[in-house]
Symmetry: C2
Subunit: 199 residues, 2 copies
């Protein structure tokens, strides 16, 4: 993996052949093939290692803070080597279903599940609306970043991540009880009562 | 373009070589090269034609309705031939900066500008908050769709588009003035006055 990393850094996906990696690592090609069935499988594992280092799974007692930290880390990682490896593998994944499956089951699905659990905690404590499926909330938080960086391939910054989160969170936040005022004062009083009881 | 379309439909990007397209169209390769410098340029133009047919530019007197119609059409188009051509070209764009530029300047940027204008109209009429940059609102509306369909390569449906829009719009909608109540009744009265004056 270390040999693959250095070759990828210098020459990108095209340079990172099994031959080149074996030569760099000082082993036979068959040794590489004993561990990874293909170059793509090797590079997906490299990506998972890089991603785990650059953006460890979100954690911490405050769900919204954990989400913010994760989004910032993923945004930062997207502009570094992990981002370039992911972009390479995404472009391979269209022609190669094995790469697509490795990315989906190795990277996207597990990470989205972890983030969805944090969102579920936020829903339980009342900082995210309960009527949104957690995985859909994950897509709403991460969609703009991936659309910009991995579809349009434009640069992303920490400022971009913060702005997206600020605007998106206004939609994910529970609706303020005072909003119901238009529907009659009685309902507002009831809603306020519920709000207090919930604190 | 018609020849390219039929070959792409049958065999995908790899089959749609300049040779195959020229043979199908019954012209010399040089004739093709007189119009398009490369296979990618030809396929980008094919995509723009398909996209314009499948999802014409949003229009209509009601901005939020125009946005909903466009999102639905783009979602539907993403599951058809245009979606497959776009996925192919995106996967080429990582290795070929010319493809990336053609997609960015031919497809993404012009379309995002048109949608941003609709969002500006919604801001003027007061159905979308004024404190969000219109292009950022475009990314918030379209990000989840592109993340799901063109990064993770999972299927998208009209129901997905509607759900995303419903949740995202709660964040893009203007904050109800009643919300400011918590900060004191005086500010609320002032905010309400401003709200009326703005209508």
């Amino acid at each position: 993996l270390d040999a693959a990393l250095r070759i990828f850094e210098a020459g990108g996906y095209d340079a990172a052949t099994i031959e080149a990696i074996a030569a760099r690592a000082g082993v036979a090609k068959t040794t590489i093939y004993r561990w990874w069935p293909s170059r793509a499988a090797l590079l997906v594992e490299l990506l998972l290692e890089l991603a785990a280092r650059a953006a460890p799974e979100p954690a911490g007692p405050v769900p919204l803070k954990a989400i913010r930290t994760e989004l910032r880390r993923v945004t930062k990682a997207a502009e570094t080597l992990s981002g370039r490896v992911l972009l390479s593998l995404l472009s391979r994944s269209q022609a190669d279903p094995l790469v697509r499956d490795a990315l989906l089951h190795g990277l996207f699905n597990p990470r989205r599940k972890v983030t969805a659990q944090i969102i579920r905690r936020a829903q339980q404590e009342g900082t995210i609306r309960k009527d949104i499926p957690p995985l859909m909330a994950v897509d709403i938080v991460y969609g703009p970043l991936f659309y910009r960086r991995f579809v349009r391939q434009e640069a992303v910054s920490g400022g971009f991540a913060d702005q997206i989160l600020r605007h998106v969170m206004l939609g994910l936040a529970p609706r303020p009880p005072a909003r119901r005022r238009t529907a009659g004062a009685k309902r507002v009083r009831r809603a306020k009562k519920r709000g207090k009881a919930g604190r």
